[in-house]
Symmetry: C2
Subunit: 168 residues, 2 copies
């Protein structure tokens, strides 16, 4: 199904059943040996790990690389969506995301150091035959509708729970 | 290298060269056919895509699943780190993360609907032989030092740029 057909089908479905507008997505991580972690998201699996320099085996990207990857891919895909919705020809998109991280924060070596990234940069390159103003229009719409950009830029409370199983 | 040895080595290295405390991590996404996207993070690659129901081919998890996966894995790995640092035995950790997403926001079907997740829940299960108060101590330290939890809960400005290449 094309993007435009999918958006039309979604619009029509939600006119009949507006309660279906909110979907629930899930990911489940299970810690394996050391820092190696298997994550299941729908029918997809992903291996996440720390590099050897910080005590892992480098079997996968680390969690901060994964969160940067989520932003880079969300921007790229939202460019595709909105180019279709706005009728803007888009021949290529590359998104580079960089995050600065203070290891003293994560490792508890300095109570004043932040654990999260201290700066994030997102550099988008698009290619296409249209005028710059159309790609700027596209950019504005992408940045207004990119879910993972919202995760970075907006404070979002995360409801948390801890269940403890005694394995003795 | 064990986690404790890696933390000691990092502490010693930063005493000599404090400027190396901030590391820069990167991810680069390249849009391929449709919504399929190849992401490179260090030497790791990841395929991200939308499911067929919203115009993709389901070749990988979608970006919101990936951002939830980053939180789930970051929590799991931070549990491992801080269990080591605090000397708490930890036999198993599973982290389930759920996010609610309003598709009307992403698709621009309702200007009032949010594009980012409207609610996120993070459910951790630990197993081990120690008392509940030790796992609660562990949880407090994990939540204070988990970088991706900060990405969700804190507003983080993302510096953005757009470069336009004319492909006509």
């Amino acid at each position: 199904m094309s993007i435009l057909a999918a958006v039309d089908a979604t619009r029509a479905a939600l006119e009949k059943e507006p309660d279906r507008a909110v979907v629930r997505l899930r990911a489940e991580a299970r810690l394996e040996e050391g820092t190696q972690t298997a994550v299941q998201a729908g029918r997809h699996t992903l291996t996440v790990d720390e590099p050897p320099s910080v005590g892992g085996t480098g079997a996968g990207p680390n969690p901060v690389q994964v969160v940067l990857a989520s932003l880079a891919s969300c921007q790229a895909i939202t460019y595709r969506y909105w180019a279709e919705l706005l009728g803007i020809r888009l021949d290529a998109v590359t998104v580079r995301v960089e995050g600065d991280l203070d290891v003293r924060g994560i490792m508890g070596l300095d109570a004043d150091a932040s654990s999260g990234p201290t700066a994030v940069r997102c550099m988008v390159t698009v290619e296409g035959p249209e005028g710059a103003e159309r790609y700027e229009e596209l950019r504005r719409n992408v940045d207004a509708h990119c879910p993972v950009l919202d995760v970075f830029t907006m404070p979002l409370p995360v409801e948390r729970s801890l269940e403890i199983g005694n394995s003795e």
